[in-house]
Chain length 440, copies 2
């Protein structure tokens, strides 16, 4: 078929070369009336007119699925406990999955997509574990599976990677992806509290759950960096392949060392494509105080993307919370209503990306070495790491009296370990008190 | 017409309820082969396959318009000096305007849009001065006028406001929008240089032009905040209605005062919607050191958006430069190729938004008062501003000896001026050495 004229008659509502037949109505069901789901319902109700005006088609909430009773809810007439009321309703074409987890959410999402109903979700556990399968089902059935809210809560990072990075080769992504641990680390720094006090405080404020493992051991951040890596390089990355270190072993003394050397400790998820190899990791990292990531405090999240033309871009905002997350879910619904073309990525269960071993990750590193003979230990570190090492001033005299701090150049953790293992037997008998990746 | 089934057959390439007929080809012309235009050409050439794969239709560069000769260019066969070669070529359906200014760029853009050819641009002067008219012409002719690169260079802020803020009521936007002045202020702070030295250095590095007025007097930032305000509240804001103060009167002494009180001076553009009234201004602002904006140094830009559900989101990146800006231009082209639905906003020349007087802008303010009798001057300020004022510690003893610094609560500049005008006649005869808006 030949060329089509760019000239379109003004009365047709379409883009160049494409005839768009507007949907009459997007009819929405919300599954799970918890923190996020109830937020989605209230934003949909509050903004019905605005959403309709923006999208050019009616966006209406019809059903809410929850096993609990909400007799006082504004939406009392919309509740059901029967999933089939959604699955079998031919009017409902978009469903927000706000159940969480990978149990019933998995079963329901699969059934909906198989029926050609689009699903939008904030459920990062689902996307990280089964995103590949869900996108394949969505593709076979011509519907959407989208998840703006799954990473970075209120930070519009997924849509941005999809649209604004279409012309970019992404080299690296790193970010503070978990609000609970960032809150705890901020508190440990500002108030000198230790890990367990900080955790207790995070629990009191509702940031940490009864079982905080997922957050503090870095698993939540790990799922998110896996999703970002999958989007950045258009191939599914399994979060179980990524080396993870959480913050549960970060002590008040570590935080003090960071402070005394002009650094801040942050839990960072990183992924990088280098010569066709994919590296990814989650760990506590020493961030220099003047780096923009250092200023990301409390429960805020921040994601830095490095790419060939745009260079560094950073996206900062609320990583979680009822309204930010719910707004992200609703924005996906409005995208569908506005005629978003489904994007399935080249995620494929039989062709999952290979992630290099954690020890292969290269980075700058921060090293803090204690010794009874500082001068000798310093000389030993410099001999071992040669040109790669730069000494860092320790501003706190009490810490500096028997220790020396360094930042290395970019090197593999594996190589660094080999060198540092020798240190105890060299002059000064230096003891590595702290060693973690650094961001300058 | 009734309800349409959500179920779509998998082989049709379309979104729910919409039939999308893919364009066969996007044929592009670039006008202006300067810094940005040449970058657009090289990205289009380098990424032809990737763009085509992503957009699902062929994206091809066909013509380059420039009055200069480029005998060594890779694109030697594409050059023309005759605008009609683009205007009258029925194949060309998207044109990147990288000429700049509002002279010939205005004439050409208008003619192209009138012929139904879409125009993408990085030309903020055009968008700020004539964006309204251009969008009206684009609307009448069913084509696009889009300008991701016009604000924030490599920061994808315009697409983000269009898509991710569709479900948000924006309350305020503020940002560091001009890289040249941010570079200068960073240098003044880090090296203690004065304004004229910093300007000279910015010139040497190519950040400042021979006539730096547009940058240093804040006019460039003003156009950008006007564009952002127009997008945020969907009504055209004329940049000529916005009160502007540049950085040409910022002295090394002011920078020292900022440093001694834990602040950083930044040139900030702000706009706010409050009770249906639109406030906007550009001025140097005292930013507290722990605010994320304070860490935005060198020629980086940063834009903070505050809205009802997402709360604060910040977008940080390269504000200018060949590749970041060119990438943003190309991303608009790829958006069109991908089937973006034209969005014209409710910009209307006969219904331009009213901007309140600059003196009406309310903000926290930083005040630095000198006096031979500090205790008396301090008491006078506190009496004048009562509960609104908080004293700020001055860490530099040489500065603190005969001065006192305060931060006010939120108040109108008009009211603050009335109070401060009385100060000279009150006990201590305080002299206001520095007064500027503050960001805490």
């Amino acid at each position: 078929m030949g060329y089509e004229s760019a000239r379109l008659s003004p009365e047709t509502n379409h883009t160049i070369g494409k005839v768009i037949k507007m949907a009459k109505r997007i009819t929405v069901a919300v599954m799970g009336y918890g923190v996020v789901g109830s937020g989605v319902c209230s934003i949909l109700a509050d903004r019905q007119e605005k959403n309709t005006a923006y999208a050019g088609c009616d966006v209406r909430l019809k059903r809410i699925l929850d096993i609990r009773d909400y007799p006082d809810s504004l939406f009392i007439n919309l509740f059901t406990k029967n999933f089939d009321d959604i699955l079998e309703d031919p009017e409902i074409n978009v469903v927000a999955e706000c159940i969480g987890g990978t149990g019933v959410a998995y079963k329901f999402t699969k059934a909906l997509l198989e029926k050609g109903k689009s699903v939008v979700t904030s459920n990062k556990a689902m996307v990280a574990a089964h995103g590949c399968e869900m996108l394949e089902i969505a593709k076979s059935n011509g519907c959407h599976y989208i998840f703006e809210a799954a990473v970075g809560g209120g930070i519009p990072i997924i849509r941005t990677l999809r649209n604004s990075y279409a012309c970019e080769d992404i080299k690296e992504i790193f970010g503070i992806l978990n609000g609970t641990t960032n809150y705890m680390l901020t508190k440990m720094r500002s108030e000198g509290t230790d890990y367990s006090e900080a955790l207790e405080d995070a629990r009191k404020r509702g940031y940490a759950e009864a079982d905080p493992t997922d957050d503090v051991e870095g698993y939540d951040a790990c799922r998110k960096i896996a999703i970002l890596a999958s989007l950045a390089w258009n191939r599914f990355v399994d979060y179980r392949d990524i080396a993870v270190t959480g913050i549960s072993k970060v002590t008040a003394a570590d935080i003090a060392i960071a402070g005394a050397t002009g650094n801040v400790i942050k839990l960072v998820g990183r992924c990088r494509m280098d010569n066709g190899k994919l590296y990814a990791m989650v760990s506590p990292v020493m961030v220099r105080e003047d780096n923009p990531l250092a200023g990301v405090s409390e429960s805020y999240n921040s994601i830095l993307v490095n790419s060939d033309n745009l260079d560094n871009c950073m996206f900062y905002g609320r990583g979680a919370g009822r309204l930010p997350t719910a707004s992200a879910v609703v924005s996906d619904i409005v995208d569908i209503a506005s005629g978003l073309r489904p994007i399935y990525y080249d995620w494929n269960q039989d062709n999952v990306a290979k992630v290099e071993e954690g020890d292969e990750f290269y980075s700058e590193f921060f090293i803090y070495v204690e010794s009874d003979d500082i001068a000798a230990a310093e000389a030993s570190v410099k001999e071992l790491l040669r040109s790669k090492v730069q000494q860092t001033e320790i501003k706190d005299a009490t810490l500096g009296a028997k220790a020396v701090a360094f930042t290395t150049g970019k090197m593999r953790y594996r190589d660094l370990k080999v060198s540092l293992d020798l240190l105890a037997d060299m002059p000064g008998k230096g003891k590595v008190r702290l060693c973690m990746p650094a961001v300058l």
